[in-house]
Amino acid sequence: MMSGFFDTIGALMMLGGALFLALGGLGLVRMPDIYNRIQAGTKATTLGTLMVLVGAALIMPSWSIKLLLIMLFLMFTNPLSSQVLARAAHRSDAPMTPETKADRLDEDAEDLA
């Protein structure tokens, strides 16, 4: 049922997005502390989901308005939740991995207070 040129390109795009999702999940398991897990788990999966949505828009061109809205909402909400999570981790004194060299937020704490 799917044989056109754009279908193959869209399916390749979706495969790349799914690869980014799987790598984000792998980073979520393999990273040593919570800050690295937030990086791997939020940025990689956001890019993966956006690529999957672009691929779906290439396969089904009549759905592209709804898919564009989903992309817009994801781009609004995911960095928000990521930032709130990182701030909560820093305020609740989550332990860092010993390889961490600098903590700029801790150095700026008295300026912010």
Binding site: L26, I38, G41, V52, A56, W63, F73, T77, L85
Partner: protein, 86 residues
């Protein structure tokens, strides 16, 4: 050709789902579980779009729209609660 690529993409999404669920079960602190919860909601949006492609109904995309708009609410409230210690 494209069907095989879509099946491969589904397998990779399932792998990401299993890895995030493993982090949710194992996570040493509560905030690790909140991160895993966030990732699981994002993976669910992808799964809903794949289901809409398989069944060919565009009405399923509205569910993904509601997910993308409202899933961060629980994550933000949980993070604000866990700020004050475990």
């Amino acid at each position: 050709m494209a069907d095989v690529l879509l099946i491969l993409a589904g397998c990779l999404v399932f792998a990401a789902f299993a890895l995030a669920a493993w982090r949710f079960v194992k996570g040493p602190r509560a905030l690790d579980r909140v991160v895993a919860f966030d990732v699981l909601t994002i993976i669910s949006v992808t799964g809903i779009v794949l289901a809409a492609l398989i069944t060919g109904r565009s009405i399923y995309l509205d569910v993904a729209l509601v997910y993308a708009l409202l899933s961060f609410l629980g994550v933000i409230v949980a993070a604000r609660y866990l700020e004050g210690g475990e």
